[in-house]
Symmetry: D2
Subunit: 165 residues, 4 copies
Amino acid sequence: MENVVDVIHQHALQVLRERGVHLEDIAQLVYDLQSDYQDELSMQECRFHVDKVLEKREIHNAIITGIEIDRLAEEGHIRSPLLEMIRSDEGLYGVDEVLAFSITNVYGSIGLTNFGYLDKLKPGILKEINAHLGGQVNTFLDDIVAAIAAAASSRLAHNKAGTRA
Amino acid sequence: MENVVDVIHQHALQVLRERGVHLEDIAQLVYDLQSDYQDELSMQECRFHVDKVLEKREIHNAIITGIEIDRLAEEGHIRSPLLEMIRSDEGLYGVDEVLAFSITNVYGSIGLTNFGYLDKLKPGILKEINAHLGGQVNTFLDDIVAAIAAAASSRLAHNKAGTRA
Amino acid sequence: MENVVDVIHQHALQVLRERGVHLEDIAQLVYDLQSDYQDELSMQECRFHVDKVLEKREIHNAIITGIEIDRLAEEGHIRSPLLEMIRSDEGLYGVDEVLAFSITNVYGSIGLTNFGYLDKLKPGILKEINAHLGGQVNTFLDDIVAAIAAAASSRLAHNKAGTRA
Amino acid sequence: MENVVDVIHQHALQVLRERGVHLEDIAQLVYDLQSDYQDELSMQECRFHVDKVLEKREIHNAIITGIEIDRLAEEGHIRSPLLEMIRSDEGLYGVDEVLAFSITNVYGSIGLTNFGYLDKLKPGILKEINAHLGGQVNTFLDDIVAAIAAAASSRLAHNKAGTRA
């Protein structure tokens, strides 16, 4: 029997899948961020920390809210002028960064740096997400994915040091 | 001829009105917060700082996004389980506080305290908003209004001291 | 044999003790915040969540940095005009709130409200801390203690719901 | 006759100078961040926005507090184990990022991305600061300078669009 918490957790994982995000791709971002600093880092370990980050309720809330806004913008349910701001991923619209910050912050302030770096350079899967192919609106999604990767990197760094973020 | 910036500013004021929020009521929250600390504080001065806070683009973004989410929840356009979380103003859903924090922070960290105080005690107009009368969903609105009042209080405090928040 | 992590953890607990803060007093703040919302809440349970909050590295960093600044201000090692700003707990100096926010945020955005409430009303031990008796500078300490109590309240609320902050 | 506000403003500018930071170098960071997005951007304009950012009280507070901590660590007035954490710019110590975040946030959430990018890649003056030459402790300084540049970039972007951050 599933409880409410499991429902929200499963829903967060499902909406990421629906939007074409594979957790291996997020783990790859973590690996690329951390492999210079950690000896013998494995993809399996990166994936482990991504999974742990995705157990947190604060992070579920940000994921399902942000992706729902993207979807509602796609389907035209959001009113002007917000609709156009979100559809065009307008540079001065920062609510997507605000939500992303609530994800990184769960593992402490050291995640801010990695989030900004990923959000600026858009490596790996972030480039694909940011292409907004086929009319898809990914304004919140790219920040959410970058933030999950940054949070998992922080978690991994704290863990290697034997500490708790 | 209006430009895009004015359109967003006007839209933010309009959605507050649509949801039944009068700027005088926000000014009253500011007055009640600050009158013990400021000699000869007038309602007119409080209203002035509310108006100034409402000129900021970061704050427009938070207002129109948060209120749009409330409206979409009312109209049932948001999917489960997020729909039920927002409709019931669920205690562990903190995205409304995250957005509110992006409002208070424009005028510095001293606004955090006033925001939390207002959000906990729900004085004045916040009590009415929080009653969610007639099927209205105000999950984001009450935090937004508390945050505007907290930001205006910070702006007023900085101004009285001759400094800039 | 102690490792670095334990050293930092123990140091954070020690500096709180040095400044006259008993963890039972923080647990009491949690109890007063949460007893209206949680059936059969015990002080023991509140203390448990305070202890768990105090295991987090991000929170150790904020505690030992903030209390060190208070101590350095007391001993006069900080230069003017910062020295006077800290000694007088100046209303427009918000770095203490910034540090407190890094504590509450580890358990999600719902802690902001409780932090603000405690910081405004200064119940229980916060009143004593805020009195700055005997030349003690507690500018950072009172925000830190309020933030620990707010974070522990968030942790408790998430736990009762079977979720993870 | 100078008032308190001017004293704090002048002090913030002075401590930056004392630590070897020229505002032209910060303006250069802004230019490098923004010249791809803004036609006919001049160094003069970048410097203008750096100066405006440096008028804000919240930002003065962060600057003078962070640099004072660096100085106190240099002079050995800070106690172990915090002393060693700051002197070694320890990766899991994130209070410097917390302070930096309070700087960027004054101009909205869009500054987070640029801050992270600068903090990760350390271009221009940040590389020199980060070298910690001659026993200088710059743990807070490099984040503060990156944050000022990110905030000035946000201000410039909002200004070009005719909006207010």
